[in-house]
């Protein structure tokens, strides 16, 4: 599985404004709605599901990365949004570092496999510091897609 298999090209936010966990999650859900990937009526339920997941344990996995995720009836296949926070967000990461890079994942209700594969793929690519740094220094959406696509191709 490649990142570009599930990441919506239209759901990229390179300048997240919020500095709180719930606000950032709302911002990323809004990005998916603005991209036309999910319907507006799904918004509140999806935010609740994402926050419920966070309450079980933070999805910040270290190295400035967070992967908020939840299952939802609003998608038929795994869907992802990308977000970048310049100043960083306190996401209750185990390593105590603020989160700068966000991959928000929404999986269909009855799935388990694709979500596990997506987590594995994101971790595999993002363990590369150079890749993380180039994402963090990107200044527009196109560059993000270009960087991720190139890395996807490099590591199949």
């Amino acid at each position: 599985m490649l990142i570009m298999d599930f990441l919506s090209k239209k759901a990229i936010a390179i300048d997240l404004k919020s500095s709180k966990k719930e606000e950032v999650i709302k911002e990323l859900v809004d990005v998916l709605i603005a991209a036309g990937e999910i319907e507006k009526r799904c918004k509140n339920k999806l935010i609740d599901a994402l926050m419920a997941r966070e309450s079980l344990g933070s999805t910040a996995i270290g190295q400035g990365i967070a992967i908020p995720h939840a299952k939802s009836d609003c998608v038929e296949k795994l869907l992802g949004a990308f977000g970048l926070s310049k100043k960083g967000v306190d996401f209750d990461s185990l390593d105590g570092e603020p989160a700068h890079i966000f991959f928000l994942l929404v999986a269909p209700q009855d799935s388990a496999g694709p979500h596990l594969k997506a987590l594995a793929r994101i971790s595999r690519l993002l363990k590369d510091k150079y890749f993380r740094d180039s994402l963090r220094s990107a200044t527009d959406e196109k560059t993000i897609i270009k960087i991720i696509s190139a890395e996807d191709e490099k590591k199949i």
């Binding site: 079980l56 270290g62 596990l116 987590l119 594995a120 793929r121 363990k127």
Partner: protein, 91 residues
């Protein structure tokens, strides 16, 4: 120092997803031993004290993994870590 290993089958219904991975890493970090994990069908070793490392394995239910620990508390570390891998409960 000797390296002790344990080969285990993942029992968790959803595999080693983010929550069990975080739990695994929290426990691994309580020990001084160096801890690595690999899939039995692959040679790539990941750091057992990094969530990203564990997630990289993409270990689904039924997959076989090998945990290796090296250090004075290696045996204890493996005993604790094994509990997470063979737990059938959703964590």
């Amino acid at each position: 120092m000797a390296i002790v290993t344990r080969k285990l089958t993942v029992k968790n219904k959803s595999g080693l997803h983010a929550r069990p991975a975080a739990l695994f890493v929290q426990i691994a970090n309580k020990f001084d031993s160096r801890i690595t994990v690999k899939r039995d069908d692959d040679n790539e070793e990941v750091n057992g004290k990094s969530i990203m490392g564990i997630l990289m394995l993409g270990a689904e239910k039924g997959s076989v993994i090998v945990i290796a620990a090296e250090g004075d508390d290696a045996e204890n570390a493996l005993t604790e870590l094994e509990k997470i891998i063979i737990s059938e409960e959703e964590t």
